[in-house]
Symmetry: D2
Subunit: 348 residues, 4 copies
């Protein structure tokens, strides 16, 4: 009953097999190999757009590198106050951007609205005493397990583009968003105005399966230097590329995401029926946030359920003293049985 | 006949098998898993010393992070002018250290001597107008395929410690140095005064097999923050740890290095017999540098031999207009047959 | 009737005279001159403590350099959300610290309380995924024209020291705080636990009269390198030192601050009597914040009163649609007559 | 007999008088005042070109800020190995550029030639493993007291522009170069291909008289943010502007430079006649480098002559064991009598 993170599970066997298969023979190093070339071509197909692709090893690095192209060091990146870049990456965005400033919006349900962004932009009244608003970063699916629709992304993109800013999407759980919405990768990204994205697959079956995917060619300029300088140009790059190719083959990525999302729905529905439990945010991807009675929570953990307490930021009705706010993450690899056993537990 | 780099070959099957085996079940993420703990313990055994170990994904990141602990941003890192950190990492050391300055010494055979370091230190006469000399970084085996003996390391360590500086060793080919010298890991590192090292295994059979190994506990302080901020804290860390454990098991690392070194010897001996060829640096590890007659060189490349032209820095007798300076890298995975075929070619 | 800023006025004639006098003869450059030595000694006397003193040219640089000693690049600096370092220095703190993160508290009246700091610290639950809490920065007198008492500073200092953090004081209007409280410089700084401060005099009669004053000797280590690297080691340093000496002589600094504070009191009392005006924050230094009826505001500006609209952050009762939030800054150099004329205007 | 530096002398009385005069009344702060506007207009006239002008407080900051616009953080700045930016600014260029790398050329007489630059550029064969060559920085007058002619500048500019690079001129002693050559400011800068320069007057009579002057409008973009973020946007900016205006008025800057250059000629000619003395570099500005017999040197210093030993880099015939390499700097403010007395001394 491990719902701690999508990172506690290993690698999808098809991805692992592709890595093993990639081990044959010699290959050029540092991203000049055939597999990397193939992965790039495949992503262009998937996105139905010319893209620059840089395979990296962590989502934090993907975000940092992407932001470094989207903001000058004297710029500001607007994001959700609970965005991964803001609270989970220990100043990596500041390192890679050379010291840009993140400005957090405490939006509901892990999402931010054009009105909220406009509100922040109105605060930039000091000219060069303020940083220059350079980029908006949104996470889709969000850190609260909610999902931006293409129209929502487009509204944000239109706003920030009108201010000369760029739109970055942290897609650490991009497949979960796609699976939830049933739209195409293109619809949710460049057609909705996304300029650059962090394309993550590690949480969805990869080993180190992360890429910066760039739709706006001006941001792709000299990105290879950024990647090398960031310590993210892997010598045996074929092993990153093999993961990406297997991930995209036969919609493995979407299938896995659908599985995880489905498990989250099941867990949420079961939990919602438990007396004293309140579901925290809309469950639209593979995460369930819920306020739990403390006594029940303690009993469940004792019985072997693994999940994290979470800070109730962005939650309207805060937990009381006898309550706990908890996050459950579901993965394609989470055994269905774990969900069943946990829900059985909650019925006691 | 691919001698371009030790990175063109794949992963040692035993290491790959260990990665596959590590895929079972759930594991804590971000380096709190059991395998990472085991890898740390194993390295402490191997080095016969308490060490802090941080598993990362590239040698460039290992170097950058290690140096960030060994120099303040207003510091200077003395290194060989042809060190990997100086010429192959696109300002990554500057990024990770926050802007420290590398000062290169054009030492013979890819190595630097205490006298040369002293000469550089004598130039620091401007107080705070100069950066503060903070760290000496040496590469062992060096980028020129030569090796520092423990006594040579110790002489450098004693000198820099007397100046309040730290000693970093870039061990991207550390196993090759050990195999060449036949000494213990401890003798070549902390017993010789090394404070912090980049321990690399990617070139010697790993996939992404790199670690920062810290002997001086003061440099280990808060290093976990450095790693996270550098985008180098891998979520599914067990797959890095599995590589390290397999690499160290049954002396796989030393065996592989011995094989590669042996092939280099064979290649060098064969080449040395070719008319017009001059071996460039002492062949002490798995690299062979040689001045080749241009006509022969072109014939060999046409016949399928793959290796790089190289800049003849640090070479005493520079190549003439009809000559080429070339680098051959041998790996444990280089087919013996490739060496034979190449040498046969050179005899024509 | 210029109340726009304390920076619109020139230099106190006594300070200017001292600069002119300092022009005699030769002097060693880069802070090794006799005047700089004297200024350092004088500050040690003034603070009744051994201090390291670095004279710099802007308050932004003083803050950035001070913070660079008080936080590692992977650290967090807690401050008021409206602190000068947070909203008026265009990422300079991020530049000088190498990318540390500022975390803002929306405290009332421009001040922050131990409970608020504790609340923020409780959010640091992610280990190295969070930055490391390294420093608390408070501004005294605050950006809202309020003042921290020594006991308030001490309570904050005790809290952050217990967490291994440092306390920085931005003293851009330090003299105004002292004059307001009537306590000694020592009582308001190191005796209350301040580790390092930005000591500003530019707003209070100087030309470029800023210094980093360090009480905690561990933070002073190698600070000269930080200063040089920051582009803040002035060659003809005697002209900075002359300002500081004149500023401290015969309590000029405190006299000027008293004058400015007194004018602020007079302006506030007059404004408070105007129908529809609400004083925004407690007036404890040389700034007056007030909500004004828009019509009156427009009339006054038309009549020649100069002051800025301000963002009503941290204000409890926000301005309505027919109101304006305004900041008035008083200086020792503000003509008394300007205050009289403005108050006369408000009576119409 | 103080020849230690052009910084040991104070401020030209006309410049000081202008600063005193600027103290009247109120002025807008942070470079929006009328004097700053006037100084900008004046520089445009002087250069016969549209220029962006940013007044800063130190030459180090001017260089760092200028370079930050001319190179990305993953870029390389080629310069003389003894350039001020390389050896006298304690990693400030690295700080302001976000970690760009300086690559030094050991050119003769403090200057570098197109052939030398081409040689360095030929070393950039590693693609993104190297930094990207972004900028060439030359100092005019050079740190060795020599001067680049317009045609020499143009040859360098043409070369680097052909490689997509920018040309920066460190003009800490720009007036001395102009006075030496008798050409116009335009001829020596933008007409010769300079894109951005550090325009220094502190060494030639100013107090803090430094500016970034930008000829290439693309480099001027958002420079105000760079300035603020660098801690270099002075609040009472009128006092920097007043210096600049007085400096340029009635050719004060050129007159002062001519005086200093003349004194250097006299000193050099006198020294050259002393037995055992060898003049080190061509004396074309206000500095004299000479190899001195150690015994004479010691006698002169004992008699009160003040000047620095210097590292004999770039000197063809190195000093022997009984010799000393020395630098003498002459200023417009150096009393003629000091030169006479010193030369009298050398005749003994």
């Amino acid at each position: 009953m491990n719902f701690a993170s999508d990172n506690v599970y290993g690698v999808d066997p098809r991805i692992l097999a592709a890595m093993v298969a990639a081990n044959e023979g010699t290959a050029r190093s540092y991203s000049y190999d055939n597999l990397t070339e193939a992965a790039r071509a495949r992503l262009a197909q998937v996105f139905e757009h010319q893209v620059a692709v840089h395979l990296v090893t962590t989502g934090t690095a993907a975000n940092g590198l992407a932001l470094s192209a989207a903001t000058p060091p004297y710029g500001a990146v607007i994001c959700h106050a609970e965005a991964h870049i803001a609270v989970d990456e220990c100043n990596a965005p500041e390192l890679f951007t050379g010291g840009a400033k993140l400005i957090g919006i405490h939006g509901r349900g892990g999402k931010i609205t054009p009105a909220e962004v406009e509100g922040v932009l109105k605060g930039f009244i000091r000219g060069e005493h303020d940083p220059k608003p350079a980029c908006l970063s949104i996470t889709n699916a969000s850190e609260a397990g909610t999902v931006y629709r293409p129209a929502e992304v487009k509204a944000l993109a239109d706003l920030v583009h009108a201010h000369g800013m760029k739109l970055h999407m942290d897609g650490a759980r991009f497949a979960n968003a796609l699976a939830s919405l049933g739209c195409s990768p293109a619809e949710l990204t460049w057609q909705a105005g996304v300029d650059i994205m962090s394309f993550g697959g590690t949480k969805n079956g990869g080993m180190m399966l992360e890429a910066v995917v760039i739709f706006d060619a001006t941001l792709a300029r000299e990105f290879n230097y950024r990647q090398m300088r960031g310590g993210q140009l892997v010598s045996k790059s074929r092993f990153l590329a093999a993961q990406m190719l297997a991930y995209l083959e036969n919609d493995l990525w979407l299938d896995n995401a659908r599985t995880a999302n489905g498990l989250a729905q099941r867990l949420a529905q079961g939990l919602a029926r438990v007396k004293g439990v309140r579901i925290g945010h809309a469950v639209e991807a593979n995460e369930v946030f819920a306020v739990l009675p403390r006594a029940a929570h303690e009993a469940w953990q004792k019985a072997g359920a693994v999940y994290y307490d979470w800070l109730p930021d962005g939650l309207e009705q805060k937990p009381g003293p006898d309550e706990v706010f908890a996050r459950f993450v579901l993965s394609h690899a989470t055994p269905e049985d774990a969900v069943h056993r946990f829900l059985a537990l909650t019925k006691k």
